[in-house]
């Protein structure tokens, strides 16, 4: 394994105000499977995008096949034999497998007519599919393939450009167990042919079974490297955590009161075979942690009536409530601050005033006519209460900063009577100052008797803000931590599906 194929040295990437990558070094040998792990936001995807030429690093060098590049373009990366199997598969569903494999590099025929030579493309793709053990033909439309099969198409595409390094970003997040095993076999086969794989995953079990070496990233830095014989769950988790969590926590004004929201045996469309049980009391902030795709957002969407509820019951203050639509949920005092505020939270081209009153307009209306005075007053009150920075409430929301936009979403709900509030990644893309304002606001809402569920992938936030933390893993709640059990280690342990007790025994 001595032959180094690819080396990244001292790679840094800064965005305004954020240091996404800080002096990262990474080496990949020929025919090696390199595991790359780290928490959400540790910088794994950014690093891989640098390698694939999608983004340019601010500093550092990429050395591949004896040549050194300060940055790469996508086509250079492709020429160097780097292929990317994306987390969200980038395939054209309306085209067939061969067309996808050769997209942008179509084999041509007919001279100046530049016709697509389908026969040749099919002939070239067939052996690749055979090699991967795929049981579909080059002429199959991609829309008829399962996610696992589509992944095979991506890998076939990588093979067709004679890739030397294939990057796989969370390849198994939507696969079944047998499909995952199939993928691991394919990886072993690639390795036997001298192709290197960079394998990014949250699933430490898979990393254990396929990686020759593991590199751990944390906060944009390389924090450790484990050789094959050093690999263990405990060792990996220990490296992934270890930040000093600032003391954000403000304790509640009084103990949680009875009532609140009970989620009993709820089944969502994302995981039709899992049940979710969860309770949050009035006056409490429940952190909902877990890895991306663990089913947290699906739960929030189901409780808010956006997605249908496949089973189970939702109770608010011990009364069962029916939530067939967001309208029903809002009537019950269940509000959602959605993950994607620009898409689901705001009408960007409307002014602050109209966004704030969008959900409550009918309540102040007389004979269905908008009560302009009341509307303006409500909007102004919220703007003042939330200190929204804008010259007036008639400014279009699109011109505001992320933090102020989020405050407008909050204003919409705070102008009404919340009983249960779901915050989905409430501080994503928001600057530090606005973050702490939003935390303070959540606390004051809780103190007024609102039951709060905060979905967050930011460990600092989960541990620093919550009164209790529930952790989800693959569609169900894998454990609930009380404050004295809070640690990154415990949260991560539950998030990757390990039980709490065994971990405590293993902890140093």
């Amino acid at each position: 394994m001595a032959e180094t194929l690819l080396e990244l040295s001292a790679i840094s990437k800064t965005y305004p105000g954020v240091r996404a990558l800080d002096d990262v070094n990474l080496r990949v040998c020929r025919g090696e499977v390199l595991g790359l792990i780290g928490e959400n936001g540790a910088g794994k995807s950014t690093l891989m995008r640098v390698l694939a030429g999608v983004i340019a690093p601010s500093a550092g060098a990429i050395r591949i096949g004896g040549n050194e590049h300060s940055r790469m373009t996508v086509s250079e990366a492709t020429q160097c034999g780097i292929a990317f199997v994306h987390q969200e598969l980038n395939l054209f569903e309306n085209l067939d497998v061969a067309a996808n494999v050769f997209i942008g590099r179509e084999k041509l025929a007919g001279g100046p007519l530049k016709l697509v030579n389908n026969a040749e493309m099919h002939a070239r793709v067939t052996p690749l599919l055979d090699r991967l053990g795929a049981d579909f033909t080059p002429g199959t439309l991609v829309e008829n393939l399962s996610i696992a099969e589509r992944q095979m198409v991506e890998i076939a595409k990588a093979l067709s450009i004679d890739a030397r390094v294939i990057i796989m970003d969370e390849p198994t997040s939507s696969l079944t167990i047998s499909e995952t095993e199939r993928l691991l076999e394919v990886i072993a086969d690639l390795k036997a042919h001298g192709i290197s794989v960079i394998y990014i995953s949250h699933r430490l079990g898979e990393i254990m079974s396929c990686a020759d070496r593991v590199v751990v990233l944390r906060d944009g830095r390389t924090v450790g490297e484990l050789a094959r014989d050093e690999l263990s769950h405990a060792a990996m988790i220990r490296l992934m955590i270890g930040r000093d969590l600032k003391a954000l926590y403000t304790p509640p004004a009084h103990a949680p009161q009875p009532g609140g929201c009970d989620i009993a045996g709820v089944v969502t469309t994302a995981f039709p075979d899992r049940q979710i049980n969860l309770s949050v009391r009035r006056g409490e902030i429940l952190g909902l942690a877990g890895l991306v795709g663990a089913g947290r957002t699906s739960l929030a969407r189901a409780v808010f009536g956006v997605d249908p509820l496949l089973g189970g019951e939702i109770r608010v203050d011990n009364m069962p409530v029916g939530v067939a639509s967001p309208r029903d949920a809002i009537r019950q005092g269940i509000y959602l601050v959605p993950e994607d505020r620009k898409k689901s939270g705001l009408v960007l081209e409307l002014p602050i005033r109209e966004n704030v009153t969008l959900a409550s307009l009918l309540d102040q209306a007389r004979m269905w006519l908008v009560n302009g005075t009341a509307e303006r007053k409500i909007a102004k009150d919220q703007a003042r209460r939330l200190s929204i920075k804008a010259p007036s409430v008639d400014i279009e929301v699109v011109t505001l900063s992320g933090g102020n936009q989020q405050k407008v979403v909050l204003g919409k709900w705070l102008s009404m009577q919340p009983r249960v509030m779901f915050f989905d990644e409430p501080t994503r893309g928001i600057d530090v100052g606005a973050k702490s304002e939003i935390y303070a606001l959540m606390r004051s809402l809780a103190d007024q008797g609102v039951a709060i569920v905060m979905i967050s992938s930011d460990m600092e936030e989960v541990i620093g803000v919550s009164d209790r933390v529930a952790v989800m893993h693959e569609g169900s709640v894998s454990g609930v931590l009380e404050r004295d059990q809070f640690s990154e280690y415990n949260v991560l342990r539950l998030a990757v599906g390990q039980a709490l007790e065994t971990m405590e025994a293993a902890a140093p």
Partner: protein, 353 residues
């Protein structure tokens, strides 16, 4: 918001003035009343089309709806001797029902508005022609519904009733669109349906209602057109009228992407279209160029509006930047921006003329 309407009004005034200067007959009382009548006829259903376009949809079926409802209406009055108030009611209900069916298909069955209403266009036209065996229906020499005829095609102090109806309906829909909760929801749904749904708005009902209103106004228009022409030939009655409505709405500031437009704009858009048609006659431009003139003006109008909007947006972005900059700088920049933006409008609109 009002800038657009002001620009359109100025354009209308400038075109009228120029035409009037070339041929004073344009401004004669008779010609103005004739235009008012046509504006009334074509404005009523353009209002409905505008509401549908604000949802981000489109209604292509209006012209065929006129034909189908028209032949049924005349048949009810002549063949079946139904009392006119009942016939009127049935035609209005028919329009509402057709709009309701289209709204249902679009919202509940998630079909694309273009397809649903295109099929409506084909189906209603076919139904009208089959129902009449392709023969023209008209009123005999009897005075069936002379009362209604007087209401629909008469005038008050010389002003055509159709124009008065348009003003009344525009006022009602103006309140609905610009003052009511429904209107606010309509804009929100047109701009971002998902965010509207996440705010507890029943977006399906909001959208379907727009199609129902459009159908209902098509019913009203049918009656007015029937008494304007006094007969309905099922294969040509109302042909392409939906395109007039779409043109008027777009010219009046509605964006086909949804969420934009105003009642005043649609009325002014209709007026501008009719003035253009009239101008072609009055100025002796070959009648065959009628559509070409209309198309050119719409193209230039929409292009100019887009350029102005892009310019305004750049300015807003600058102002947004300035807000984060020191106070003194912000003030000077905003002061510079405002008069400049206002001055830009008339210059560009007169370019169009």
């Amino acid at each position: 918001m009002m800038k657009k309407e002001l620009g359109l009004f100025l354009l209308l005034a400038v075109i009228s003035a120029i035409t009037g200067a070339i041929n004073p007959a344009f401004l004669s009382f008779v010609n103005l009343l004739n235009m008012a009548n046509l504006i009334g006829l074509f404005g009523v259903f353009a209002l409905g089309e505008g509401l549908v376009i604000i949802t981000g949809g489109i209604d292509l079926s209006l012209g065929s709806m006129f034909a189908l409802l028209g032949v049924v209406f005349i048949d009810l009055l002549t063949t079946y001797q139904v009392p006119w108030p009942l016939a009127l009611l049935l035609v209005l209900m028919g329009g509402l029902a057709l709009g309701g069916i289209q709204g249902f298909l679009i919202t509940r069955l998630k079909m694309q508005p273009f397809i649903v209403t295109l099929c409506g266009l084909l189906i209603y036209r076919g139904a009208a022609r089959y129902y009449t065996s392709d023969s023209t229906r008209g009123f005999g020499y009897g005075d069936e519904a002379s009362t209604l005829s007087n209401i629909a095609s008469g005038n008050v102090a010389g002003i055509p009733n159709t124009f008065i109806f348009l003003i009344i309906l525009a006022l009602i829909l103006g309140v609905l669109l610009h003052r009511s909760v429904y209107g606010r929801w309509l804009y929100a749904v047109g701009k971002n349906e998902e965010a509207a749904r996440f705010s507890g708005i029943n977006t399906n009902i909001v959208i379907a209602t727009a199609y129902v209103i459009s159908g209902g106004l098509a019913g009203v228009s049918t009656v007015m057109f029937v008494f304007y022409t006094n007969s309905v030939s099922p294969s040509s009655f109302g042909n392409f009228y939906e395109l007039y409505a779409i043109a008027a709405a777009v010219l009046g500031g509605c964006s086909l992407r949804g969420g934009e437009g105003s009642i005043l704009g649609i009325v002014l858009g209709t007026a501008l279209l009719q003035v253009l048609q009239n101008l072609v006659n009055i100025l002796g431009i070959p009648n065959s160029l009628n559509f070409a003139v209309m198309g050119t003006v719409i193209l230039i109008g929409v292009l100019a509006d887009q350029q102005l909007q892009a310019r305004r947006r750049r300015k807003a972005a600058l102002a947004g930047l300035a807000r984060t900059a020191p106070k003194s700088k912000e003030n000077t920049r905003l002061q510079n921006a405002a008069p400049h933006g206002a001055a830009a409008l008339p210059t560009t609109t007169s370019d169009q003329a």
